[in-house]
């Protein structure tokens, strides 16, 4: 019965379930079965908004250059670049590189 899994089996099950939910929230994968889709979208947007605030705080020069383009550019970037646990660069550095490659803004 599912109620009495040994700990390692419980870890494997929880791991698979959590990976699915995070994949939906940050990795553009669909909402896992049984979840309220609207709530998954609201949570995903809240996570991107928090990320945007943190990067903006770390890179005020970028905020000044991108001005009104910040919101849609950051949103595009965040949707395509989930924060990886093994990331070597900071999110702000990655965003700066992405903006440089993506467009017209020439940034240092």
């Amino acid at each position: 019965m599912s109620d009495d899994l040994p700990l390692e089996a419980a870890r494997r099950r929880v791991k698979a379930q959590q990976a699915q939910l995070i994949g939906a929230l940050v990795g553009n994968q669909g909402a896992p079965p049984g979840f309220d889709r609207q709530r998954v979208n609201v949570q995903a947007a809240a996570l991107r908004a928090k990320r945007s605030r943190l990067v903006a705080a770390a890179a005020p020069d970028l905020v000044a250059v991108l001005k009104n383009d910040w919101d849609h550019l950051f949103d595009d970037y965040a949707r395509g670049h989930p924060l990886e646990s093994s990331a070597r660069r900071t999110d702000a550095t990655s965003f700066r590189r992405w903006v440089n490659r993506r467009c017209c803004h020439r940034l240092r």
Binding site: L5, A10, V26, G34, A46, S85, A87
Partner: protein
Amino acid sequence: VAAAQGAVVAAVVVAEVAVVVDSVGRLGVGLAWRRELELSVARVPGIEFVEVLAESVNPRRLPPSLRALRARAVPVVPHGVGLSLGGADRPDPGRLKHLARLARELDAPLVSEHLAFVRGGGFEAGHLLPVARTRPALDVVCANIEETQAALPVPLAIENVAALLDWPEPEMSETEFLARIAERTGVLLLVDVANLHANALNFGGDACEALEALPMDRIAYVHVAGGVDRAGFYHDTHAHQVPPAVFGLLNHLCSCGAPAGVLLEYDRRFPTDAHLVSELDAIRAAMQLAHV
């Protein structure tokens, strides 16, 4: 006879409260220390303890303002956000070592973390996500908490989080989940009344009832924070003023038991000292209800 039994029950409850308070000591009225609030923490009178985001402080190079607080014997509680106690994996040894070292350097009365997971599938969520309230998840959380307790030189308290989404087919309520974890592991509780308020609004249910179902004798301290309604969801922002309903919950909690401390949190849109004073005064008034 009924009155006598009532008195016995009351005495037992008081004794249990005292046990928890003893293991942590009195904390009083607190404010979350943030770099942006360094000056406010120094200026605003009556701040009896602070909490510091564990991941933002290097134990080998404590910020001078924290050292100054310690020199005045103001308790500083390391508050972790990155351990992912509710995650599938065992707690990261590096993070545990950091928390333990910080607790020692600060001579902290306890360490707190969240009943949440923050990473999975190779990704970082960047925020605290709710844990499925199932038996397997309960077993994993309890194992992670026990491993953390063994690594820390002081007691651990876990905090209930605010959620925007919930897992399908929960096997128990949030408060039952917390109570079972506390019973199995002996972990203390950091009750965030604003998060109870948020979840009651976002999922229905009565925050007061949820509060009453918590094991009062396990409560180490309490969080209070502000939030905002946005498109039908309550967001626990730590950036807006504390709603009256959250103070109502705090008053209710304090009239049920006596938490060792109650701490106000702001993470951005930092308010003026005058505003902090008014919210800290409301907290102080609530804490006095416990002694009436």
